[in-house]
């Protein structure tokens, strides 16, 4: 009897379906788009592949570069806020009792099981001028104001004559807020994985040697969680960079990101070659970011990963 691992038939029957899948649904379409990026529009639906670099040159115009830059800036801000918010959350999940751990993890993962569109519309309901957040702020204002009245300071109108609702929606704040909200689990989970895997005695040793909690956090926990931090940053930054729905629904006229521009080329502007060129430019930039990551971690990841 043949040893099954060495049988070619076994290898082929397991290897061929995924290969076909990969080519038919990923590499093939990707290649088509890549080809389109060197094409010229001729008529409404006709595109001729002429090998022109015109589309790329157009994509490098200041107008579009600025949008690229802004996308990077928003994605970077999102990643930063996600990291700052997620670290305490991940630490908390790591150190709660085993009974609470799955519940907290479930709360982190729960949003994944809800449609992104629904979550974004829910966010609109929270943030809009007549939304829940403003309602809450007004409630706080009212109680503070009546508190002051009780103290006899009512006539001074210290908090203003009446509550002015904040314009929280359809601006850049809303976009970053929405991006942070959507991408938080992407940061919490790798951080939690790294922290949970870490030997607790490193923390105890640090305390035992006289370090404060804060010093222990900076000198021991953060460096040991570095692989998790890097993973979290990567898988937050890349999807945030290519987000299209959040700026579309929550942003104002000046908050469009590069994915919105790309979407417009394929739809309303009907300029597929230019859209393709922008897409590939975005992909190259993403690859560049990934290679920076690889360079950064290459030399000191030993023993930590």
């Amino acid at each position: 009897m043949d040893y099954w691992r060495k049988s070619n038939k076994v290898f082929l029957s397991f290897g061929i379906p995924p290969t076909i899948w990969l080519f038919a649904f990923f590499l093939g379409p990707l290649f088509l788009v890549w080809g389109l990026s060197f094409g010229e529009k001729q008529g409404i639906i006709r595109v001729a592949i002429t090998g022109t670099l015109e589309n790329y040159l157009r994509a490098l115009q200041p107008l579009y570069l600025q949008i690229f830059l802004k996308s990077f800036w928003y994605a970077g801000l999102t990643t930063f806020f996600c990291l700052v918010i997620s670290f305490p959350v991940a630490l908390a999940i790591t150190f709660v009792s085993d009974r609470w751990k799955p519940i907290l993890l479930l709360l982190i993962i729960l949003p994944f099981w809800t449609n992104l569109l629904i979550r974004t519309y829910a966010l609109i309901a929270v943030l809009r001028t007549n939304g829940y957040l403003n309602d809450l702020l007004e409630l706080i204002w009212q109680s503070a104001d009546s508190g002051l009245r009780i103290l006899g300071l009512g006539d001074w109108n210290l908090l203003g004559e009446r509550f002015h609702r904040f314009e929280l929606l359809y601006n850049n704040f809303a976009v970053v807020y929405g991006l942070v909200y959507v991408h938080l689990p992407f940061m919490v989970l790798p951080l939690y994985a790294a922290l949970d895997r870490m030997d607790r005695s490193y923390i105890e040793v640090s305390l035992d040697l006289g370090a404060s909690q804060w010093r222990t956090f900076l000198s021991v926990i953060v460096p040991l969680a570095l692989p998790g931090i890097i993973s979290g940053v990567i898988i937050t930054f890349i999807p945030a960079l290519g987000t299209y729905l959040t700026p579309d629904l929550l942003g104002g006229t000046d908050s469009q990101m590069i994915a919105n521009v790309i979407e417009r080329q394929f739809k309303s502007a009907n300029d597929w070659p230019f859209g393709a060129a922008l897409s590939f430019l975005l992909m190259y930039l993403t690859f560049f970011a990934l290679s920076v990551r690889a360079l950064l971690t290459n030399h000191d990841e030993k023993g930590l990963a």
Partner: protein, 371 residues
């Protein structure tokens, strides 16, 4: 005599650790259940017991990682009730060593000095001395993944010693090393302890380790200290059945007190030996345990001299261990016994399974255990 002299010498030293009526509960479980211990400056003290006996919990309470539910722990005369681990004059060597993988050997050892802002020059000096003490000079810039297990342990030791703690706590420090290295480290730890003069408190489940290193040993079982004694006393005069059985190998059998004779002699009836008389100072009644160490057992083809207990039996199994041979004996009266023969010469007699012989021991080697 020597040992008693040493005991006296230690007891004269000032008390460094005073543990009084300490209780620690985890849920319904009493991990530590009313422990009292007094440890003197410069002592090498061992907490010995099977896993789950509460010895590590006790150690962690001394380090400040757990807090007792009841009782008090005084380190150097200071009550430690709410003192966090980073403000205690003790340091701990962890079972896993926990040498920081992202720091060099030097940075690991310097860590405990840097975090309390010791001047740079002094750090250099003290780290150098500490590394020399554990024989790791020249390893400054190595990373932990370039070190062997034994070397990592030395880093952990140096890292704790460089802080000049009042008490050094060691949690199963040798359990991760292989047998040869473990034995070498035992000797080295004792030398190191005498050299630096710091009180060492070691937790171990390995009786060999405790017996060979410690000045005094506390044997723990189920959160309670059973006996505190010098290694020799612990081995030769255990105070209860648990200690007798736990330390070394022991032949145990039960008997019933029949009466007392003048001059502190006890008449006992046993299944194994019938009626016998042994010296024992206290008055006892009811059931008791008798014990005798395997190496004190004698086997012979002829009946033993009348000064010995002597009864017939046969060899059930022979297990050869190199330096000694363990002979399992089935007495005619029923109970099984084990005798240890030291293989003094290459031509020592070789007992075989099924051999008929006489078994016995000197009456003064009989231990009487009331529990």
């Amino acid at each position: 005599m020597e040992i008693n002299h040493k005991a006296h010498f230690m007891a004269d030293r000032p008390v460094i650790l005073q543990i009084q009526k300490v209780v620690k509960r985890f849920g319904n479980i009493h991990a530590v259940n009313g422990v009292n211990l007094t440890i003197h400056e410069g002592e090498f003290f061992a907490l010995l017991g099977p896993s789950g006996c509460g010895k590590t919990t006790l150690l962690r309470m001394l380090a400040g990682f757990e807090f007792p539910n009841e009782g008090s722990i005084k380190i150097d005369g200071e009550e430690t009730k709410d003192v966090p681990p980073n403000q205690r004059p003790v340091n701990m060597v962890f079972q896993s060593y926990a040498v920081f993988p992202h720091m060099t050997v030097f940075d690991n050892v310097a860590y405990g000095l840097r975090v309390v802002n010791v001047p740079r020059e002094e750090i250099k000096e003290r780290v150098k001395d500490a590394l020399a003490l554990v024989k790791l000079d020249g390893y400054n810039s190595r990373k932990p993944d370039q070190l062997s297990g034994g070397q990592r342990q030395r880093v952990a030791l140096a890292r704790a010693l460089v802080k000049r703690p009042r008490v050094l706590l060691l949690d199963e420090p040798l359990s991760a090393l292989d047998a040869k290295l473990r034995e070498a480290m035992q000797l080295e730890l004792v030398k190191l302890q005498k050299a630096v003069g710091i009180t060492f408190l070691i937790v171990t489940h390995d009786q060999d380790e405790a017996l060979s290193m410690a000045d005094r040993i506390a044997v723990m079982e189920n959160g309670v200290v059973r006996q505190v004694a010098h290694p020799r006393e612990l081995y030769e005069s255990p105070n209860c059945k648990f200690v007798a059985d736990f330390i070394g190998r022991m032949n145990l059998f039960s008997g019933i007190v029949e009466g007392h004779e003048d001059g502190g002699r006890l008449k006992v009836k046993t299944e194994l030996l019938g009626k016998l008389t042994i010296s024992y100072n206290e008055k006892l009644s009811g059931e008791l345990h008798l014990a005798v160490r395997p190496e004190k057992l004698r086997i012979s083809s002829e009946i033993l001299p009348p000064s010995h207990f002597s009864f017939p039996g046969e060899i059930d199994a022979v297990v050869y261990h190199g330096s000694e041979t363990h002979v399992y004996l089935k007495t005619d009266a029923g109970p099984l016994l084990c005798a240890t023969l030291t293989n003094i010469s290459r031509s020592s007699i070789r007992p075989k399974r099924g051999d008929r012989l006489w078994i016995g021991w000197a009456p003064e080697d009989t231990l009487v255990l009331s529990e």
